[in-house]
């Protein structure tokens, strides 16, 4: 019987636990569960890179075209030159030429003057003698545009003069890097020539004086087809370099090798202390050597010029550090003022349109600088197309960036479907301003939004900026796309391998 009672007790306790305790709170509880099926659908708003302008910008899209990776080659001050009359010229890599002739003037790029695009501009040289006043631009692809200053017009010198430099690019893809001339050659009684050199050291000269039928001798032609071991990125010729192999054409590589063109081709100049990261070479007058010699500059900031001492076969510091605002890009010397007037002036062009120049007319112990602002504006660099049933507003959201200070300024605009231009992002290096107003632009159903830039580099190093493109319909649906812009501030043949 006790066992029966024990069972009763256990049964009772279980019964109490089951019913009494849970109902001490008499809540009403209603539960629903909702299965959520998560899938995907193709985007109805897609990036459109059909407006890409190689090599200035290319955009890679993912397969859904809702992520964009843009390589944007900026426009920087590329090369500088002083002509037979002491006039200073420089060009940007799109071919806009600035020159100082009792004030600053500019010549619109041949690409703004009706000529088809034939590659980015790598170098400038000017012949301003008793016959011609020619401003020559060399493109990376080996095309030559010449601006006749007297006629006030560009002509396609590759076509008019029958140059074939472009065939080298087409066949071997060696970029052309430098054009120079023997400044004051005419004054000294020689022909004046444009001398073109590519990265592999192939050299072609064009004798403008022969064209003027002065001497009856034509020094035009291929002067060298012998590749160098290293890569020539800048050249300089002395005024007597009017005939093939007169030993006064010099080239320099980024690695600091200096070459001299002789009858047998390029020869490496004997140098005991090679200086690296060299970007420019010129010939000027040394007050401590009392002779004309080679001067080279480095890309790096806070560096001086170096002169070649033939006695020690080494480069030695000449003067004090160059005023540096951007990144050193090219150097030139005013041979006219030196030979005619006895004053020595060097000019160093920097990527952000700063020209550093020696100020005392003697040596390089005092530098000043002048800044010529050259803002570049793209046409449409990228589009966003909508096939959505709804209208959206679109804005650009800055996430972060790497090395953005290598840009002098950078601006992004969205041109909406209503043609209204909206400022989305703004960076200004000198004022240290980074703003992201992200003004909403209208993206109508079945229409597009155009993306435009203005930009100018500060330094030669690259910058990367990460954005999100935000698309929204009246605080209801927000879709965000990834957009990365990698800004390239130097030619690929300048092997910059580090970031500042």
């Amino acid at each position: 019987m006790d066992k029966i009672f024990q069972i009763f007790i256990i049964f009772s306790i279980v019964f109490i636990l089951m019913f009494e305790i849970p109902v001490t709170k008499s809540d009403v509880i209603i539960s629903n569960n909702y299965p959520v099926s998560v899938g995907t659908r193709s985007p109805c708003i897609t990036f459109d890179n059909s407006t890409n302008f190689y090599p200035y910008w290319t955009t890679h899209l993912n397969s859904y075209k809702d992520q964009a990776y843009m390589n944007l080659t900026s426009i920087w001050a590329q090369d500088i030159y002083v002509d037979d009359s002491g006039i200073v010229y420089y060009t940007d890599n799109y071919g806009t030429v600035f020159y100082y002739y009792y004030g600053w003037y500019y010549i619109p790029s041949p690409y703004y003057s009706g000529f088809s695009y034939a590659g980015p501009i790598v170098s400038i040289a000017v012949i301003d003698d008793s016959y011609y006043w020619y401003v020559a631009l060399l493109t990376e692809y080996g095309y030559v545009f010449v601006y006749d200053m007297n006629a006030g017009a560009w002509f396609n010198a590759s076509h008019v003069w029958g140059l074939t430099l472009q065939n080298v690019w087409n066949n071997g893809h060696s970029p052309w890097t430098s054009v120079t001339s023997n400044v004051l050659g005419d004054y000294e009684g020689y022909d004046e020539l444009f001398i073109f050199t590519n990265l592999n050291g192939e050299v072609y000269a064009f004798d403008t004086t022969y064209n003027a039928t002065r001497t009856g001798k034509n020094y035009s032609g291929w002067w060298s087809v012998t590749p160098t071991n290293d890569k020539i990125i800048s050249t300089v010729a002395f005024y007597d370099e009017y005939r093939k192999g007169s030993n006064d054409l010099y080239g320099i590589s980024f690695t600091g090798n200096v070459y001299q063109l002789k009858k047998n081709g390029w020869n490496t100049l004997r140098v005991s202390n090679k200086i690296s990261n060299t970007i420019g070479i010129t010939i000027g007058y040394s007050t401590d050597l009392n002779q004309y010699t080679l001067f080279i500059i480095q890309l790096n900031n806070n560096t001086p010029m170096y002169e070649y001492n033939p006695n020690t076969q080494s480069f030695q510091t000449y003067g004090v550090n160059i005023d540096t605002e951007g990144t050193n890009q090219a150097v030139t010397f005013d041979m006219y003022d030196s030979i005619i007037n006895g004053y020595n002036y060097w000019y160093v062009l920097q990527t952000n349109d700063t020209i550093a120049y020696t100020t005392d007319g003697i040596d390089a112990n005092s530098w000043g600088d002048v800044f010529v602002y050259d803002l570049y504006q793209t046409n449409t660099a990228l589009k966003l197309d909508s096939s959505c049933p709804l209208n959206f507003v679109i804005s650009l959201n800055y996430i972060n960036s790497k090395y953005i200070y290598n840009m002098y300024n950078f601006t992004v605009y969205f041109k909406g479907s209503d043609n209204k231009l909206n400022l989305e992002f703004y960076y200004n290096w000198p004022q240290n301003i980074l703003k992201n107003p992200a003004n909403p632009a209208n993206l109508y159903s079945g229409n597009s939004v155009l993306i435009n830039f203005t930009y100018m580099p500060n330094m030669a190093y690259n910058s990367t900026i990460y954005f999100e493109v935000n698309l929204e319909t009246g605080n209801a649906i927000i879709i965000t796309y990834f957009y990365e812009i990698n800004i390239i501030n130097h030619y690929s043949y300048i092997p910059i391998t580090y970031e500042p």
Binding site: I9, M18, F19
Partner: protein, 192 residues
């Protein structure tokens, strides 16, 4: 004999007490909530931005509510990411609706939302409409919302869904949102 008395007492208690409890349950059902063919007092419904999201093909229901009702009951919510995009926010596409309002003297209401197996999908809820950049509570597993006293009918909780890039897979998968309504009589001490 003492054991027998104890057993007898236990048996009586074991039978009588549940009867009392059963009586409590009856009282509980008399609380003014109705079910069945009529619309419940509090329920999940398409939110104010559901039509736009639906037009974009980003949300749908397996059995859309009939025209005379907007109650979402026991059906699958289908949401779509945009392939490749960073993220897609569907703001206020669902809502919890109270039809008649109640008075706190009659009790309080909590809405408990549980999220299960929704990888790369954020469920965000708020008692006021959610704006972008997102306001509201990001429910990572569960969260109980106290619904304040209201005497008018209308939405009392807004729900947004955010799909992150990781969910942009060609493979469709299924998770679950559990919504539980706790309605307590006045004087109850329950806290979810």
């Amino acid at each position: 004999m003492q054991i027998k008395s104890l057993a007898l007492l236990s048996t009586i208690l074991g039978i009588l007490v549940p009867m009392l409890v059963a009586a409590t349950v009856v009282i509980s059902y008399e609380y003014p909530l109705t079910f069945g063919s009529t619309k419940p007092y509090i329920y999940l419904a398409p939110g104010p931005n559901y039509p736009e999201a639906s037009e974009m093909g980003l949300i749908s229901l397996t059995n859309p509510p009939p025209s005379n009702s907007n109650v979402i009951m026991q059906q699958t919510i289908i949401i779509n990411n945009v392939t490749g995009s960073d993220s897609v926010y569907l703001l206020n596409v669902l809502e919890i609706v109270n039809t008649s309002g109640w008075d706190t003297s009659n009790g309080v209401v909590y809405v408990l939302i549980n999220v299960s197996n929704l990888n790369h999908v954020a469920v965000i809820a708020s008692t006021s409409p959610i704006n972008w950049p997102t306001s509201g509570i990001n429910i990572t597993s569960s969260y109980a919302f106290y619904i304040p006293k209201t005497t008018t009918s209308g939405p009392v909780l807004y729900i947004s869904l955010c799909l992150w890039s990781g969910s942009a897979s060609s493979v469709t998968y299924t998770g679950t949102i559990y919504i539980t309504y706790y309605v307590e009589p006045a004087g109850s001490t329950y806290t979810p």
